[in-house]
């Protein structure tokens, strides 16, 4: 039982990080039909911004802020202006190919300009083990969980309670109608990209102390984000959150109780089952299409 609680907490912490990445992924999809195959690399990169800032002498909190700011500028603004805008006109498939190429590009840049070795990354809080109901839980897992929950709640409040957030939702659901209602659609789409950049930067700062900052991190993280988004529902923010949490918990439990060699396989099998039985995802709505 104690080990179960341990696994559950660390699974929730991993799942919360997956959820952040998957939420950004679904936001981009909703706002501009962008399937970002480079999302994993988007999570890999901000950690290197933070490390670079710290190498220049900035304290961790300042470096983290610089990392988020650089992420917004490069992975939000530049990504939108230089890559998505010119290519989206050509259709969805070229954009998919382009983000695959972008993931290669980002991976190689991190390797060539920083290092091909895994870099240690500072933790948010000192790692101390806490005893809860006989289970040993690290403060690190709890801190990750807390930051992720705060971020998700803030995101939910932004999207559901503010005028800005409701405009963004309207843009995602029906751009033509949103224009008629006087919503600045282009600005809202741009904001979604910036929001995604903030989410991946936070995820990067949370995940890097656990996985170390490495150029190849994006492969697993990106795959987890796709899986979470599809299992939960591609067109729903809360679907992505649910998918991320399911994935994180399942990953930890299956590795412990079923087979650690095939831990990577269980999420994939769930994915295939979900796509076959309920392609819109657990919480997703069906998207209709015209002939």
């Amino acid at each position: 039982m104690a080990s179960f609680i341990q696994l559950l907490v660390s699974g929730l912490a991993t799942g919360a990080i997956y959820a952040l990445i998957a939420v950004g992924f679904t936001l981009l999809w909703q706002a501009s039909q962008t399937i970002n195959f480079a999302q994993g690399e988007f999570v890999m990169l901000p950690a290197f911004f933070v490390l670079a800032a710290m190498n220049m002498g900035a304290p961790f909190w300042l470096a983290a802020l610089i990392g988020i700011a650089l992420s917004v500028a490069i992975l939000g603004l530049l990504f939108k202006l230089i890559i998505v805008d010119p290519i989206l006109r050509q259709g969805v498939l070229p954009l998919v190919i382009s983000t695959i190429a972008l993931s290669l590009f980002l991976k190689e840049s991190a390797k060539d300009f920083y290092s091909s070795q895994a870099q240690p990354f500072p933790t948010l809080v000192p790692a101390i083990d806490v005893h809860i109901f006989g289970a040993v839980v690290s403060t690190q897992s709890l801190a990750v969980l807390a930051v992720a929950i705060v971020t998700v709640v803030a995101l939910h409040l932004l999207l559901a309670k503010t005028r800005l957030g409701r405009s963004m939702q309207a843009t995602a659901q029906n751009p033509a109608l949103a224009v008629i209602l006087g919503i600045p659609v282009r600005r809202m789409v741009l904001l979604t990209f910036l929001l995604n950049a903030v989410l991946v930067a936070i995820a990067s700062i949370l995940v890097s102390p656990i996985y170390l900052a490495k150029f190849s991190n994006g492969e697993t993280l990106g795959l987890a984000a796709f899986l979470a988004a599809i299992i939960g529902g591609f067109n729903q923010v809360r679907g992505a959150i649910l998918g991320g949490v399911i994935l994180g918990v399942l990953d930890n439990l299956s590795a412990a109780y079923l087979s650690s060699q095939y831990r990577g396989a269980f999420p994939l099998l769930i994915l295939i089952v979900v796509i076959l039985i309920r392609p819109q995802g657990l919480l997703g709505r069906l998207e209709e299409r015209t002939v």
């Binding site: 290519i87 190919i97 190429a101 972008l102 590009f105 190689e108 095939y262 990577g264 099998l269 392609p279």
Partner: protein
């Protein structure tokens, strides 16, 4: 085929035959790799370019084909039999994988095939009793066919080139048959194709399975070419690479995969001076190509030749490339 197209093809064939005599063994190895990957890319082009189904599983099929040959040949099965079984095995698996393709399309299909590739990688890595796990299989022998040994690089290159030529001609013939027309109908408008009496269900499965079987044949050539295989060669990276090859060359163009494979295999060598940066240059090139001409390099040439013809006041001859304009 138009005249400039025929001339270009003749020059390309002559170059493919003559080039290895001017190269050292590493150059010949690269050319062989080009021929082998071109076979896999032709298969993916069938699935993606003609039938319009995006697949990230081609690398996994190359892996299945390679392991099939690497395991069967030492067990005493003659190479030609192992070669054909690699194709048949992948045809069967591709057929099964095609079933999800009937339910979902586009990005969902990309994710299903991505999941499949990862699963195949895990099986190749974990089932050590069969595949020797991460240690891979080495010392894979090159075949002797009808008393002709293909052990030396030059001989093996001509074996690969011959296989590529036979496969390409067979696919060319298939594409001109009603099957090929049905594939194109499937890509352009599946619902209309269905209403015109095309059995879209069957043709989607066939497109998937045929593409997969070419991946298997490519793997069957790959194993004796590199003579050492391990699971990580057939991960997502290879599938992404093959997809980029098809797109860069020009998906839906018959000669697209040949050009794409050439660029993906030879460009890294030309840009060797740039060391680690060549992959960044390649990736940036792909992104630029997608922004300006998503139909790939052949699409670019096609567009240029049409523009020149239009300026001269002729009709619009193409490079002998059949691609219906949307």
């Amino acid at each position: 085929m138009t005249r400039p197209g025929a001339v270009a093809l003749a020059i390309a064939c002559a170059a493919a035959v003559a080039a290895p005599f001017l190269l050292k063994s590493f150059g010949i190895y690269l050319l062989s790799l080009w021929a082998v990957l071109a076979v896999a890319a032709i298969g993916l082009n069938l699935t993606l370019g003609y039938a319009g189904q995006i697949s990230l599983a081609q690398g996994a099929f190359v892996g299945i084909g390679a392991y099939c040959v690497a395991l069967l040949v030492p067990a005493g099965v003659p190479y030609p039999v192992a070669f054909v079984s690699a194709g048949l095995l992948c045809f069967a698996i591709g057929w099964l994988l095609g079933y999800p393709a009937l339910r979902v399309q586009h990005h969902y299909l990309a994710f299903i095939t991505l999941a499949f590739t990862t699963l195949v990688f895990l099986v190749l890595r974990n089932e050590e009793w069969l595949t020797n796990g991460i240690y891979g299989i080495n010392a894979i022998a090159r075949p002797t066919l009808l008393g002709w040994s293909t052990g030396r690089p030059l001989q093996f290159y001509f074996f690969c080139l011959g296989a590529l030529a036979v496969i390409a001609l067979a696919i060319r013939w298939m594409l001109r048959s009603p099957w090929g027309r049905a594939f194109v109908a499937l890509r352009e408008n599946p619902i209309r194709a269905l209403s015109l009496g095309v059995d879209t269900r069957r043709y989607t499965l066939i497109a998937f399975a045929l593409g997969a079987s070419l991946g298997g044949l490519s793997g069957a050539l790959y194993a004796p070419l590199v003579q050492f295989i391990e699971p990580s060669s057939f991960g997502l990276g290879l599938s992404f690479n093959l997809l980029l090859m098809v797109i860069v060359g020009g998906s839906g163009f018959f000669f697209g995969p040949f050009v794409g494979a050439l660029i993906a295999v030879l460009l890294p060598e030309w840009l060797r001076i740039a060391e680690g940066y060549y992959l960044m240059a390649y990736a940036a090139g792909v992104m630029a190509l997608m922004a300006f001409c998503p139909s790939g390099v052949l699409g670019l040439i096609d567009r240029a030749s049409k523009a020149i013809a239009a300026r001269r006041g002729f009709g619009a001859p193409t490079l002998g490339i059949e691609r219906p304009q949307p």
